[in-house]
């Protein structure tokens, strides 16, 4: 029988199929963080049961941590309580924690791949919807709710109905100034914010396989913004080269053996997908969003669309954004630039921004925050001299965490201000009450930081 990559991994992890119901699926790696785990641990306590396989769960503090003065006690009482609770739970239940001030701390989806915890063929879950990021390695990775976190802690398994499969092929070669972020924003604008619901996506085609691992992670990361459970890409030499020598990847002869196994992870040529999309890389330009969901994006040279009489949701969205139908996006004045998050807070993203802003100065009207995705990214940026370049250009370099991506801490965009952000969500209030988020690539964000307004990055590189 021909199988998709997804089928191969899924079938390999089904412990039991419930008649007329979901499958019991075995989970190889479970990542947890401070915000969606406390109620799950409380559940275990109430039942008086341990974590079933503590060695398969890894914890970090990222969502709710300050990004300045991390060496000091957390000022916000509730945040402190939540982060302390994680430490307490991890100690009590024997789970490895990369907490604040640990050299491995960082955004859960940045550290997993970086440490080699994420590997091809695995099932990976986390109480966070952007777990889809890990699919870039050819793993089935998806976000879960807290009740499910409790299930995985208690049994290393989860109950899931098998999703349908979708294939998105992007053929051709990306143009100058067009990045992985533009690719995925383009795909979402075409598929819509709910078009992927019920599906697991496989990305393929030259424009996808031509991406670095960082780029692939950016694409898979935003699968959830189409409503999909996750997205994955068949592992190849790029994947193996990235993984080689990482902390948790097999070493030496075991690595070669692993690569041999991983090399079987691809969709059979006759495999059937319930839905397919084909896109051409040459149609993709630098993208930016104008609305309040990630599907409301356009090429940066485009205009804010008009809405039909009946479309109250779009009307509400544009009103929130303070944009007029038919308005040009180029030239729009911006107040904040945020570079960071699990979508674009990796070393490659920082390098890209640094390369562009080197020797330049941010515009006066712009406040620019750059938040590395992990302690390791931060360290690397310092070693490569990137931090200096960014600081010289007027960027505020923060400490690792989710930061303004969800604005749980103090990193909030003020009411009514426009932020060009490299994160993944432009929902109302996502970056702070009343904040107006426009999603774009790190390159575009860098260009906007210098110009003080929306510019086409192709015009300035």
């Amino acid at each position: 029988m021909t199988k998709t990559l997804f089928d191969k991994i899924w079938d390999d992890h089904v412990v039991k199929q419930i008649e007329n119901g979901p499958s019991v699926v075995y989970i190889d790696r479970h990542l947890i963080h401070e915000v969606t785990s406390p109620q799950a641990f409380a559940g275990l306590e109430k039942r008086g049961i341990p974590v079933f396989r503590p060695e398969n769960t890894i914890a970090t503090a990222d969502h709710n941590v300050p990004t300045i003065d991390q060496h000091l006690p957390i000022k916000d009482k509730l945040s402190k309580f939540q982060v302390d609770k994680l430490t307490e739970n991890c100690e009590k239940f024997g789970v490895t924690l990369y907490g604040l001030n640990h050299p491995y701390q960082g955004i859960v989806h940045v550290i997993g791949p970086q440490l080699g915890i994420t590997q091809p063929g695995m099932t990976i879950v986390c109480g966070d919807s952007h777990t889809s990021t890990h699919g870039a390695f050819g793993a089935i990775a998806f976000g879960i709710g807290t009740s499910e976190v409790e299930m995985v802690l208690a049994t290393q398994c989860i109950m899931q109905s098998k999703p349908k499969k979708m294939k998105i092929t992007v053929g051709g070669k990306l143009g100058k100034g067009v990045t992985a972020k533009d690719v995925v924003l383009y795909i979402i604008s075409q598929v819509s914010t709910s078009g992927g619901t019920g599906y697991f996506i496989e990305y393929a085609g030259k424009a996808i396989t031509g991406l670095t691992m960082e780029g692939r992670m950016t694409v898979c990361n935003m699968s959830i913004e189409m409503g999909a459970r996750g997205g994955l890409i068949a592992p190849d030499q790029t994947t193996f080269d990235y993984l080689k020598g990482r902390e948790f990847t097999p070493q030496g002869a075991s690595f070669d053996k692993a690569v041999e196994n991983w090399s079987n992870l691809y969709s059979d040529s006759e495999a059937v997908f319930e839905k397919e999309f084909h896109f051409d890389a040459t149609d993709i330009e630098p993208m930016i969003t104008y609305g309040t969901n990630p599907g409301m994006g356009t090429k940066i040279t485009g205009k804010v669309p008009s809405y039909g009489e009946m479309n109250k949701s779009v009307e509400k969205s544009l009103k929130y954004m303070g944009l007029e139908p038919g308005e040009d996006l180029i030239g729009k004045e911006i107040d904040y630039v945020f570079v960071g998050s699990c979508t674009n807070g990796r070393i490659e993203d920082l390098r890209e921004v640094a390369k562009f802003v080197e020797g330049k100065q941010k515009a006066e009207n712009i406040t620019a925050w750059i938040v590395p995705g992990s302690k390791q990214v931060e360290k690397q940026a310092q070693e490569e001299g990137i931090s200096k370049i960014l600081e010289k250009a007027g960027f505020q370099l923060r400490q690792p965490g989710c930061s303004a991506c969800l604005a749980m801490n103090d990193d909030k965009i003020p009411q009514g201000k426009y932020a060009v952000s490299t994160s993944n969500r432009n929902f109302e209030g996502r970056q702070g009450p009343g904040a107006r988020t426009m999603l774009a690539s790190p390159l575009t964000a860098a260009a906007v930081a210098i110009a003080g307004k929306i510019v086409d990055p192709r015009e300035v590189i």
């Binding site: 412990v15 039991k16 419930i18 007329n20 119901g21 979901p22 019991v24 075995y26 915000v35 969606t36 406390p38 109620q39 409380a42 559940g43 039942r47 969502h63 709710n64 916000d76 509730l78 945040s79 309580f81 939540q82 109480g127 966070d128 919807s129 976000g143 879960i144 709710g145 807290t146 009740s147 409790e150 299930m151 208690a154 049994t155 290393q156 398994c157 109950m159 999703p163 914010t193 709910s194 619901t197 019920g198 959830i224 913004e225 409503g227 459970r229 969901n293 109250k312 949701s313 509400k316 969800l406 749980m408 009411q415 969500r425 929902f427 109302e428 209030g429 996502r430 009450p433 009343g434």
Partner: protein
Amino acid sequence: MARGKFKNLVSTAIPLPMENVDTDQIIPARFLKATSREGFGENLFRDWRYEANGQPVNDFVLNDPSFSGEILVAGKNFGSGSSREHAAWAIYDYGFKVVISSFFADIFKNNSLNNGLLPLQVSDEDLVEIFALIDTDHQVEFEVTLASQSLILPGMGKTISFDINPYKKECLLNGYDEIDYLLNLKSEIAAFEQSRV
């Protein structure tokens, strides 16, 4: 954690005719700092419900005393975005037992079912009709019967039947907890692990 058996209900409904209501709207991130499951209802739809200064927004439906009930009716693609289960907790904690929409985001649907909150999916046309009914009469009552998977629209003799996974239905009707189910499988799970090494 299951919250007891799902009971049939007859109730008025509260309309929220917006599409793509994401979980950041249902419960904004800054209210996720609590470490228990209770109390989130207070901040349900916080930024639509209250001004920045804490004053209620008068024309938001939860602040309109002419609407009440245990059923929330919302536009297409409800519960998209963040996987936060806090969204389902907040809706349940506020007092809703059923959410009706023409489309639910996957994770939200799972989270609801795991908390005794019924995500009831109807067609786009039926949804329009339901909104119209509520619009005409805010006190109109709907009847939800899970066992027969039916939603009765009042006064028109119309019954809409809805889909639900049979297993999930059993769980809701009996108040079963999936974790208990999985815990009973522990030896099978251990055997599975053995078979893979």
